[in-house]
């Protein structure tokens, strides 16, 4: 009965209904836009940083992470390979053989981080081939080496020159080798740019005489929020390895991210306040406009309690419709910016270059932000509509009819 009354009231004055619904509709759209943009910025920073460095998840021989010793390597395992290939969340994974070494040009010597990679696979994860500034990117069967730009400058070496590597091999053996430089890559992070060198996996294994072993497997996954789930699933299916998430490997990045999220709560709060005023204004105007009608209803014997219930029911109906439409309406806008990210200039671009992420704002398409924001605005609208109960109870029929 109340429902039917409320429903008919809504259709009686379409104009008013439309305005109320639209106020909620726009509120939902703005709340969603702000949230997905902010989340998108952090997603971008994290995914770019993580893909260039350690990946979202790494698997090591137990204890590797603490001492980084070449002895703490793990053997290639077909079981692990098939597990990684079958896990749905995993987009790609790459094995790496990382070790410290001394690189020398004859005159200059420097301590470096030598990384054995599977070139083609590695490129799909860290887009390393795009960083090449001289020479060519490595191929699987190459005998050559690839140096970071800062390192090559320090050693005063060019493409096709030879570099000598010295280091500690597997189980205390001596590692030494001579490699022609095939390419030079420029890395955006200065510390890495001064100290990185890459060998194809096979040469690297020969260099440190590890045989079919590697130090780590880096894993990229689809959904950053599922990182713990994937970690647990790997541990459960294949115990005996050290499995670490990016938060454990890069605690500073995680900390920065958490700190920014705290800031976001404040900004969302400010937006909600503005939204609440907008909705409250509309509700107030609506009640105001209907005073005459309410006065007559009360005069002919309608109980105030029932009237209030009908009015609140109307508002809830309109809020729900507005919220749903807002969630649907936001989708194409978000999708548009997802496909056409906003390119930032100025100091944003400079910071981005410095810290190695692309200077773009690309909103997140994660649907749960849509739902949470819709839910938040809906709650605001419903709480505000309770004001109607208060207002209706204060009505004096005679005055209301004459208003």
């Amino acid at each position: 009965m109340y429902f039917r009354l409320a429903w008919r009231n809504m259709w009686r004055s379409r104009r008013r209904t439309l305005i109320t619904i639209s106020s909620i509709f726009f509120a939902v759209i703005f709340a969603i836009l702000m949230r997905v943009m902010m989340v998108g910025v952090f997603d971008r920073m994290i995914s770019d940083t993580v893909s260039m460095s350690c990946g979202y998840i790494q698997i090591h021989h137990t204890g590797y992470w603490d001492n980084r010793s070449i002895d703490s390597t793990m053997e290639e395992s077909p079981k692990l390979t098939s597990l990684l290939n079958n896990e749905k969340q995993i987009i790609s994974w790459v094995p790496r053989l990382e070790t410290f070494a001394l690189a020398s040009s004859g005159e200059q010597t420097k301590g470096i981080m030598l990384m054995g990679i599977e070139p083609a696979k590695e490129d799909s994860v860290s887009k390393l081939s795009k960083k090449i500034i001289a020479g060519k990117y490595l191929a699987d069967s190459d005998k050559g080496i690839m140096l970071a730009e800062g390192l090559a400058t320090y050693l005063k070496l060019k493409v096709n020159d030879t570099v000598i590597l010295l280091g500690q091999g597997y189980e205390g053996s001596m590692a030494a080798g001579k490699y022609p430089i095939k390419g030079i890559a420029r890395l955006p992070i200065p510390d890495m740019n001064k100290a990185m060198a890459w060998l194809p996996m096979k040469s690297s294994r020969d260099f440190s005489s590890t045989g079919a072993r590697y130090t780590s497997i880096s894993i990229m996954i689809q959904d950053r929020d599922k990182v713990d789930e994937v970690k647990q699933s790997i541990i459960k299916q294949e115990p005996g390895y050290e499995v670490m998430t990016w938060q454990e490997m890069l605690p500073e990045l995680d900390q920065t991210f958490q700190a920014k999220m705290g800031q976001n709560v404040i900004m969302s709060g400010i937006l909600y306040m503005v939204i609440a005023f907008g909705i409250f204004g509309t509700i107030l105007m609506m009640l105001n406009e209907r005073m005459h009608e309410f006065g007559i209803l009360i005069a002919i014997g309608m109980k105030k309690g029932i009237l209030a219930r009908v009015v609140v029911m109307e508002m809830i109906l309109m809020s729900v419709v507005g919220t749903l439409l807002g969630m649907i309406g936001a989708f194409p806008i978000v999708l548009y910016f997802r496909l056409h990210p906003i390119h930032m200039g100025g100091s944003w671009a400079q910071v981005a270059a410095k810290f190695n992420f692309q200077p773009i704002i690309q909103p997140s398409m994660d649907l749960h932000h849509f739902i949470i924001q819709g839910y938040a605005v809906l709650s605001i609208a419903i709480v505000l509509s309770l004001y109607a109960i208060f207002k209706i109870h204060k009505i004096k029929a005679i005055e209301a009819i004459n208003s």
């Binding site: 305005i19 726009f26 836009l33 705290g262 503005v274 204004g281 509309t282």
Partner: protein, 403 residues
Amino acid sequence: MLFKVAWRNIWRNTTRSLVVIASVAAGLLAGMFLIAFFQGFVKQDVNNAVEAQLAHIQIHNPAFGDDKDVNDTITNASAIVEKLRKDVNVKSVSGRAITMGMISSSSTASGVEIHGVNPGDEKNISSISQNVVEGVYFDGKKNEIVIGKKLADKLGVKLHNKIVLTFQSKSGDLTAGSFRIAGIFRSRNSAFDEMTVFTNFDDVAQLLGTGNGIHEIAILLKDGQKVDTLAAGYKSQYPKLLVQTWGEIEPEMGLLTGLMDQMMYIIMGIILLALMFGIINTMLMAVLERQREFGMLMAIGMNKPRVFIMVMLESIMLTCVGIPIGILLTIGIVDYFAKYGINMSAFSKALSQFGVGNYVYPELHSSMFLSVTIMTAITAILSAIYPAYKALQFKPAVAIHQI
């Protein structure tokens, strides 16, 4: 005449007017608070860096640079320090002996920057002495060292353990000294904690063989705003020395500030749009509610441009009332938080582990009032155009018969 009519119209229906006034005030408050919050946040970042590590101004021998050669001390340093101490603009001064070296525990070693300081001076210039989490900031004994928590974990050492520092002395020989850990600090910058250790000036100077030679003079000013002008003064006073402000030492800080500014404008844009739609809806409701009135006015001969101007005048007046209210509200609220701070750790678990320094104190600069006021006023007046235009579409004969 129109002006008078508009003014009376506003006060004829106070609820309606108050809603619009409140929306404008809320929008202004939101915008101002957002900016004040961002300014406070950025300032806190800068302050942390300045107080913990950079100080306002640093003076070096220009040759000291990246290599940090022990021999590049500042000539006449003691005289300069004494002179700066008497400077009215200077809060405190500290002369440091700095060298790069290796720190080793029984288990492992790491590269560090060794700061030889006079604890009494250093306490007044750097907040590190307040960030000591274990032990004390120098006890007055010989060969004491204060290291970061992160470094202590990496080295696997505890309070009162002994560690060895190895570095190059003035004569070019490698020299080593054994130090006892007097205190462990934890600042907000974990990279700094890992890279920097503090010892007594005399202990390290003895090993270096530099006597009372100083590598770095750090200056904390009474008024941080004057840093650029004062630095320029010192530059002309000491033309042979390298005088740098914190902004010149760490250009990244400036970039981050710029990034925050850009982010703020985007969020500000979203909030103003949300405000705009809030006001449009309320005004639209108000105008449609007054159909009968407008119909009547037009029927008795008021022409359309006049109706339009009247509605616009009403909006402008409402905005003019709303803006001062918004400014007063902002001053009150920002002053409250500037005094008590906003505790960010409530929103972010990662921040809470730092304890102190998690409060953001919003800051209002008078220059912001004008730009935000103009932006809010433009938004409010733009939002009035559509409803005013809508008022022109009424046909007098139909409109009069509306209830």
